[in-house]
Symmetry: C2
Subunit: 422 residues, 2 copies
């Protein structure tokens, strides 16, 4: 598509979305919930069609020789379509955040000030591979009273178009304007570049993905960005740890589902406990097929089967059965390592020492910190927030699981009786 033509098309899209967002912001909860439930039904009804369209993407990915993990994330089947529908139903049952009074206070001059939760406006979501993100995010954004513009990866183009068309059809018979949901033309990065300049019409853009995507969005966006970056998650096993508990937590954090952002990528171990803890732990990991990349001390303790960890390993999100292991001098060594190489996502300490735990919680600069629990709990459902658009690794506006509440902003509504400034 020619650049100028593409620009005009995108400008038209975002203007329509902005107008639609004003209408969505005023729609009653029951209407939004009903629409979400109808979308769920439609996805189930059109399941065969969705899977057929998805097969085109999967076949193409196979032809291109994509990794098995990516093909798995891309694939839709009956179960996954059911999960997508369920996510919409769950979102419908969550309380509506719009209109919530966050704070109400009265000033000495009689002014009554209400801090009230309101929709953000137009939300852009840029994501890769998983097609379920399309319907999940449409449901969450609409429920929070926003319009949403989606841009999926080109590897999932047929799947995303199919899901989008099914869901959009439902909107036609509701009070929600169809322009409230839009799909950005998948003309690669060119369309994205133009889109990211539309700060007059788009209020926030949420990129979910790896280094390349996040960097591109950060560099080109004039729209405020809430990044959902990689998870380089750590577990630090203190010399005050309950060894049995450390075993279970580390194993769970690495092995239970290695392909997700809250899985552990680096295990840090206090030097005093390393010789006692590491041999059994690493042998258990190896039995599960985990490849270990260790620091020099680790490789002294375990002589066989451990690769050398490079500096690059400490900031690597493997998303796979690979684990880097480092022996540290003390708590401060662990904190410094995480603050230097981590991605500010989720990190855990295993310790029986409460003071040490508090020090870890205060000093590690990450969204979600755990004492004696697996990093795998960083998740909207696990926190009781319901569905989420993802995990924010940013510090502004939203940090950690980004669910309905984080898809809103607030305004101050001030009630007077003629007050003026002296």
């Amino acid at each position: 598509m020619e650049n100028d033509h593409l620009s005009k098309k995108i400008l038209k899209m975002v203007k329509k979305a902005k107008l639609a967002s004003r209408r969505v912001s005023l729609i009653e909860t029951s209407v939004k919930n009903e629409a979400l439930k109808q979308m769920a039904s439609a996805l189930l009804q059109r399941s065969t069609y969705l899977i057929k369209e998805n097969t085109k993407d999967v076949n193409e990915a196979r032809r291109q020789g994509y990794a098995a993990a990516l093909i798995d994330r891309l694939t839709l089947n009956e179960k996954r379509v059911k999960d997508m529908a369920q996510c919409l139903i769950d979102t419908a049952t969550l309380p509506d955040p719009v209109g919530e009074q966050i704070k109400v206070f009265k000033r000495p001059n009689g002014l009554l000030i209400k801090k009230v939760r309101t929709p953000i406006g137009v939300i852009g979501i840029i994501y890769e591979s998983r097609p379920n993100v399309t319907s999940d995010c449409i449901g969450l954004c609409l429920k929070a009273g926003n319009a949403v513009i989606l841009k999926g990866g080109k590897e999932a183009i047929h799947s995303n178009l199919a899901i989008f068309s099914v869901v959009k059809d439902v909107l036609k018979s509701t009070k929600i304007p169809v322009d409230a949901i839009q799909l950005l033309p998948s003309a690669g990065r060119q369309a994205l570049k133009i889109f990211l300049k539309q700060d007059q019409y788009v209020d926030v853009v949420i990129p979910r993905g790896g280094e390349g995507l996040i960097r591109f969005v950060t560099e080109h966006s004039h729209i405020p960005v809430v990044k959902h970056y990689k998870g380089v998650c750590h577990t630090y096993v203190s010399d005050h740890a309950d060894i049995k508990m450390a075993f279970d937590i580390c194993y769970n954090a690495k092995v239970q589902r290695p392909g997700v952002c809250n899985a552990m990528e680096t295990m840090l171990v206090h030097h005093k406990i390393a010789a006692r803890f590491l041999p059994d732990m690493i042998s258990k990991f190896m039995d599960a097929g985990v490849e270990i990349r260790g620091c020099p001390v680790t490789r002294k303790i375990i002589k066989k089967g451990i690769k050398k960890a490079s500096r690059q390993d400490w900031s690597e999100e493997y998303l796979d059965l690979i684990l880097s292991v480092k022996v540290v001098d003390d708590l401060q060594g662990a904190i410094d390592h995480i603050n230097t190489y981590g991605s500010r996502h989720s990190d855990a300490i295993v310790t029986r020492d409460k003071k040490e735990a508090e020090e870890f919680l205060r000093s590690v600069d990450s969204a979600c910190l755990y004492v004696n629990a697996s990093t795998r709990f960083t998740d909207g459902y696990q926190y009781g927030f319901g569905a989420e658009v993802g995990i924010s690794t940013d510090k502004l506006h939203a940090r950690g699981p980004m669910a309905l509440e984080e898809l809103t902003t607030y305004k101050y509504e001030v009630y007077g009786t003629g007050q003026i400034r002296e």
Copy 2:
């Protein structure tokens, strides 16, 4: 300064600030408060020096023929130095936001989740003219546990350097690292451009200023931005207004202090009330020296002394005794005008009709909305928040008065007893 040399210098600055921010985040409240009070004393003691340095800026501004309003904003005197000291003392007496438990909840699996307020890290503040911003923002950022990097305008360079050096001297005798406050070299936009790429070290940048500055920062920043943009504030006088109240509110909003961002710039009037309201109101404005720029209907009602409002006028922040006036068809006309031409800052309605007021509050997309009160109340002190770094016109992270709480973020601290994901 050569570009490469400047880049290295700025990189060194931001790295130091990042390291310092980790230490500031852990400093006890009493130490921070004591430091702020000492800064206040030092400013008062060095008052003569500060005013002498400021005179250099003021003289230069006069030589350059700057507007009287700008020279007024730039000028320091005994009273204004006292106000600066008082702002630091006020900030010291405010509760420390760091460590506040925003929410505490327990999950069915026994996990105890605390959402805890924490410092943001390194905050960049880009501002123009007023030298008091230097000490106000240093006080607020330190109190909230952050490091701060300041970039004032070149017109205030001597004043800012003087204030900064007095305050920095105080830090040397406290536990707060001196690197926690830094002044960006005033090598014009070149330094700013380099600074805005340091997203690895700087967590947020807050530009306070006009169109040019805000546009520059938005376009060049890789760091998250919270914009403090102009205030194109409206008052809508409904046909259900108490006329006497509308008089007082509109007069106050325009005349009491026209040079600030929460002053009214456009008055909207319902057509049914225009002929009754406008003649007296406008004559009162004219008596106060206000220049009126009216829409065609306004100019039909008031035949003399009213300039024609151009389309440009509707989005103009005059910061002066100038007012644009428009007669609208109804509430929806007022809402549409504000959402189209406003700057999402502060807008008011004068009405006795509660339903109409609610409609206005829900539909106008601005940070602070008033029913029967002057827009001039948008201010951290007036809201009871204490001092503020400014008024955010953005929707993400902070909206409206940005005070101590808005200079923090949060993290989730999760306490387990060995929980793992099934």
